[in-house]
């Protein structure tokens, strides 16, 4: 296509006028209001002994499940939209202990990560790990928080003392009343569990004779359907996927096993949560100036190198 000199000049002038108007718009156009969907989440981190097993990976390095949980939670905070709220809780023994109610993630990111960094086995107040009961207490306490947060429960699902599937602790809430996601952590292989002492320091590993291998109640029963002898492996731990799935179904939670991208978890949280719209100011200047820039570059592109423009 060849344009006459006059046409080229006119066209250039028109483009420049449009670009000028766009730059003006970028400078003076008022911010527009846009709704983003935000959620309230309460992150419950398992700090029981089985979380010290080193079978999770962060940036290609093998780390303990707890370190993975902390790092992944931190990254999830970063991926949550500003305006969303996040709280923190720890789980030990048979209950979840809420340490910080949900706060806005962007403004309080520093404090949230400071608190998260403190999480370690020292904080555990007992040496048992009853995951299902802890999920129930988290649900009960979430009901006391306004607005009710979505629970994000990070655990490997290791129950100690063990549970027989027919003798599950009773859940007295309504499934799905409080929304939640169970995040499974840990590998497939059974590995020895580091043992912490009274001071919370790691001292060797749990031996085969240190732990119970059967549900306390099942072991007392005489019928052989529930009281079946099985392999003594409760001193070893892996991610208990089927157990976590059963637990998630029971309380109406989603189950995500070893997520790799925090963004995926945020999506999962958003999907199960009752999100609230929050209006944020959105500045369109980037769009205007980008279009203006493109137009101006159009004027100056060296067309002469590709087509002849002689007249």
């Amino acid at each position: 296509m060849r344009l006459s000199y006059q046409k080229r000049i006119t066209l250039t002038a028109i483009i420049m006028v449009v670009a000028l108007m766009l730059v003006m718009a970028a400078l003076w156009m008022p911010h527009i209001q846009r709704d983003v969907k935000i959620m309230d989440a309460l992150f419950v981190i398992d700090i029981t002994d089985s979380m010290n097993v080193q079978d999770a990976t962060v940036n290609g390095e093998t780390v303990s499940r707890l370190d993975w949980a902390k790092e992944f939670t931190r990254r999830t905070f970063l991926d949550m939209p500003c305006g969303a709220h996040a709280g923190l809780a720890i789980f030990s023994e048979a209950r979840s202990l809420i340490l910080m109610n949900p706060v806005e993630v962007c403004n309080s990111y520093h404090d949230l990560t400071q608190m998260l960094n403190q999480f370690d086995p020292h904080m555990a107040w007992a040496r048992s790990s009853e995951v299902s009961k802890a999920v129930y207490t988290a649900i009960r306490q979430a009901k006391e928080i306004e607005p009710e947060p979505t629970i994000v429960f990070v655990t490997d699902g290791h129950e100690s003392p063990p549970l027989h599937e027919s003798l599950f602790p009773k859940f007295d809430g309504k499934p799905g009343e409080i929304h939640g996601v169970i995040v499974g952590v840990g590998g497939e292989d059974l590995l020895p569990i580091p043992k912490t002492n009274e001071q919370g320091e790691i001292e060797g590993v749990w031996g085969v004779n240190d732990v119970m291998h059967q549900d306390v109640y099942a072991s007392l029963r005489s019928d052989t359907t529930t009281n079946v002898p099985k392999a003594r492996t409760e001193h070893l731990s892996s991610q208990k996927k089927s157990h976590l799935q059963t637990l998630a179904d029971r309380v109406g939670f989603e189950y995500v096993s070893s997520p790799t991208k925090p963004g995926k978890l945020v999506d999962a949280i958003r999907k199960v949560s009752e999100t609230r719209p929050q209006t944020i100011d959105y500045d369109l200047y980037a769009w205007f100036s980008a279009i203006a820039l493109a137009l101006i570059l159009l004027v100056y592109l060296p067309y002469g190198w590709f087509i002849r423009t002689d007249d």
Binding site: Y5, A13, G200, L293
Partner: protein, 332 residues
């Protein structure tokens, strides 16, 4: 990343889209002014492209922290998380007829409420929070973030208590929070509990030294468990009260070289008065850190872009007007 596009500013110097090919160069008059104007326009176009690119790159002055002088103090909050804190606050003895209606709220929720109110009234203070149960853990290092401290106090009022508490460890942790910090103003530990412990000699010596080193004032709001018992010895004391751990702890605190004050809260009114008194006392000069949010500089670059594009557009319009005139003149 956008800055990789910066070489685009050279484009105007290579482009001849709007040049007119003239049959014979010598026919053109040599004009100094035109030369300067052409150069100027090329410069302006480069400036325009550069400023738009820079504006797009999102330039900003990062968040800054500045120090200001305000009124207030620094507090580390130690709220007892033991089981006994689940009991009803200021419950009248069971063998008396309840003449006045009494609240059935637990000691922990009552303390939580007063603490929340206290924090809200003190906008410039810095607060830290220690989870104080079997093991003391510094869960919230000293922070100016109101939301974080309020949310932590709220969370502390939820749920049931944990087994036992270790006051010595909690106090040492609290003192350690000030370690390595510049002295900015009054430092305080606010201990709220309903019981005491008996400390041994070495623990006492350690605590005394730590508190003095860090120049910390200690406040103890004692939630009375036994009706009628006071922390200080009275003439008509019950013999059973003489050896209470609370009293031992109080006696030790009184011997501290650093300031110490105890408040005994047996009713909501006394609790409120204690909080009010601490609020009144701790209103001194304090250096606080303030966070200035990041400031965008995009508008500056956009203003430069606006100026250069305005000049260029006018020039282009003028040219196109001139060319049009010339074209019309040609026709005649």
């Amino acid at each position: 990343m956008l800055l990789w596009l910066i070489p685009l500013v050279l484009l105007p110097w290579f482009s001849h889209n709007t040049d007119k090919t003239v049959a014979w160069q010598a026919m053109l008059p040599h004009d100094r002014l035109s030369l300067v104007v052409t150069l100027l326009f090329k410069l302006l176009s480069s400036l325009l492209i550069a400023s738009l690119l820079l504006a797009l790159a999102g330039p900003h002055i990062p968040e800054r922290i500045i120090e200001r002088s305000r009124q207030g103090a620094e507090f580390v909050i130690l709220l007892d998380r033991s089981r006994s804190m689940d009991d009803i606050f200021a419950r009248p003895p069971r063998n008396t007829l309840p003449i006045e209606a009494f609240s059935t709220r637990s000691k922990r929720t009552v303390s939580g409420d007063y603490l929340l109110e206290f924090v809200k009234r003190r906008p410039d203070d810095r607060f830290g929070y220690i989870l104080f149960s079997t093991r003391a853990t510094e869960i919230l290092p000293l922070s100016y973030n109101r939301d974080a401290i309020l949310a932590t106090i709220e969370a502390g009022a939820l749920g049931k208590g944990l087994s036992k508490t270790d006051i010595f460890q909690a106090l040492s942790k609290a003192a350690a929070m000030f370690e390595g910090e510049a002295y900015r103003g009054s430092r305080n530990i606010l201990l709220i509990s309903d019981g005491g412990v008996i400390l041994d000699a070495s623990e006492k010596a350690q605590l005394q030294q730590r508190l003095a080193e860090m120049r910390i004032n200690l406040y103890w709001i004692y939630l009375r468990t036994v009706r009628g018992m006071t922390l200080d010895e009275q003439a008509d004391d019950n013999l059973l009260w003489l050896e209470m751990p609370e009293r031992k702890l109080h006696t030790f605190f009184k011997k501290l070289t650093t300031p110490y004050q105890a408040f005994e809260a047996g009713s909501l009114k006394e609790f409120a008065a204690a909080i009010e008194e601490i609020h009144r006392q701790q209103y001194q000069a304090l250096i606080v850190e303030e966070r200035l949010p990041k400031q965008s500089l995009a508008d500056w670059f956009l203003a430069i872009a606006l100026f250069s594009s305005l000049v260029l557009t006018l020039a282009r319009l003028y040219t196109s007007w001139g060319v049009k005139l010339a074209a019309q003149a040609d026709r005649f």
